[in-house]
Symmetry: C2
Subunit: 329 residues, 2 copies
């Protein structure tokens, strides 16, 4: 089978590709070819050298014209401008997230073979509307009231995927990803960035700032569980997926204090001491608008479970990035 | 003040324009000018002759380029391809409903004066997803799961209006209109068409077919209450409107039997005898997917109420269209 991963050079895209190549099989079919489409090539040389991998670089919206004549069996649409970019540049977000998603759906429709499609939406579709605060627990049927352009664009993408599925253009499924922690690599400017940074930096012996109070409760998912979720959503029978609305992937609900406890268990007092609280009201306001607890009975029915606890997430990070976790014991 | 009504030649657009001209005032300001934009000119000659009215005909999407340099104080965006058209021609619906709405918002943003905007969404955003049936009563925070392209496009329009409002491009409010009954004029092919036809045709001495069982429960609103709702949403203070999600306008919940009772009260047994039941499973399936009861506390807070009963709606129709209601007593 031939797969397309948009955003294929990103952290999740490359991890998904490596996982699929290692399995060799998806939904009972052999993975013969994976096209990784992104603005740049993946940094992972071993991945690019796999004979089954084809790297295509360029702007996704511009690429979609050529895709109209190419039949993919399956698509993981992960490409996206991120939250902070979309807030800073409205037009960029509309183009990268809305126009590109629509053009991709049009291309898949034109190809005519009704490919299976997993669209990576985000728990950022949830936000606290001034007049309609989020419930304490977000369920599968909680009304999203996005408070960012990124969240709006993801929610619109879900609607387009649902209708193109109903119309029989694609077999689409939208999965809402939780904040992924611990992300490897450099800090980024996303409001959620500190949810990786307060673990990653101290484990590497570097200081980290925490902009919110220890009691702040958030939901997250490890990289491994997130990729597992994308694959399970792809492999689910249509009836098992349950309808055409987006599915919330499982989420571990933790406080920042729980995260720091996990950090200490793995990195000791020395690592913990590197975290300094530097309250940032703007970030705190955004983070407090996010879901604090998510219960997805649909994800449970697919056999998906949240990470057991945050310490196991920290240990996953250390096992995968030992060279970046000098303080881990 | 200068107003734009898109879909200004339609049934609701012309009624809204006539109502605004008769009031002379909107949100405390004098109505100096109303631009009615539509594919065709309104049939109402008296309306077109009003010195305050300017008629512009053409494709809305094409018109929006010129609107970028024109400052309107307020906009009622009613233009829309209807449900049946959008189901038959996906691309037409995407262009007329999604692209035109987005281009209109872009034009209003470019004009730079942050106009007030009322977007007419629809209770068609609600539908019974196979795996997520509608609750018995639809509330303001019920998750829409549209089951038509029209419903999807309206729901996407709501998201665009919400984000452009959050960004400060417009002061937008989305109001979900219920099925309007009794619509005057000729029958149309909309699935909801019979909800006017089973009253309008018999009152004119013509036969009418009813495709669903008498026990079928639906929600509707009279033309007068619908226009009243659009104006109230326009005039509401931002805080009173309550957030940026769409507001469900009030809805009278009735069974088809209630409607026929109303018809008999006004048109007698002679009118009632002109209605014949001709079950149509396709129509019944669509209609049963619609909300049966809608409770909108936000609309109530704006002082809006549903019609008292269906008989009063029939009497409203007869009073306004005496020449078309020969059998009314």
């Amino acid at each position: 089978m031939k797969l397309l991963i948009t955003g294929g050079a990103g952290f999740l895209g490359t991890r998904l590709a490596r996982t699929l190549l290692a399995r060799g099989v998806l939904a009972g079919r052999t993975v013969d070819r994976i096209v990784l489409a992104d603005l740049v090539a993946p940094a992972d040389a071993a991945l690019c050298d796999d004979a089954r991998v084809e790297v295509r670089t360029g702007d996704l919206l511009a690429m979609t014209a050529a895709l109209r004549g190419e039949a993919f069996d399956g698509v993981f649409h992960l490409a996206s401008a991120v939250s902070a970019e979309c807030e800073a540049d409205f037009d960029l977000g509309m183009r990268s997230n809305l126009d590109a998603t629509r053009a991709l759906l049009e291309a898949l429709r034109a190809a005519g073979n009704v490919p299976r499609l997993v669209f990576s939406s985000s728990c950022a579709v949830y936000g606290s509307d001034p007049a309609l605060p989020l419930p304490a627990v977000v369920h599968d049927d909680t009304l999203p009231t996005p408070q960012t352009s990124y969240g709006i664009q993801k929610f619109i993408g879900e609607q387009l995927v649902a209708d193109c599925t109903r119309k029989g253009f694609v077999d689409g499924r939208s999965a809402r990803l939780m904040t992924v922690s611990v992300r490897p690599g450099k800090p980024n400017r996303a409001a959620s960035g500190f949810l990786s940074g307060i673990v990653r930096e101290p484990l590497a012996g570097q200081p980290a700032l925490c902009p919110v109070a220890p009691s702040t409760r958030i939901v997250l998912s490890s990289p491994a569980r997130t990729v597992e979720g994308l694959i399970a959503v792809y492999e689910a029978a249509r009836e098992a997926f349950g309808g055409r609305t987006a599915l919330n992937l499982p989420a571990l609900s933790v406080t920042v204090q729980d995260m720091l406890d996990g950090l200490r268990a793995v990195g000791g007092e020395q690592a913990l001491a590197l975290v300094r609280f530097a309250p940032d009201e703007a970030v705190a306001r955004i983070v407090e608008g996010w879901p604090a607890r998510v219960e997805s009975t649909r994800a449970q029915r697919l056999g998906l479970q949240a990470d057991a606890d945050f310490e196991s997430i920290v240990r996953q990070y250390v096992a995968e990035h030992p060279q970046a976790a000098a303080l881990a014991r």
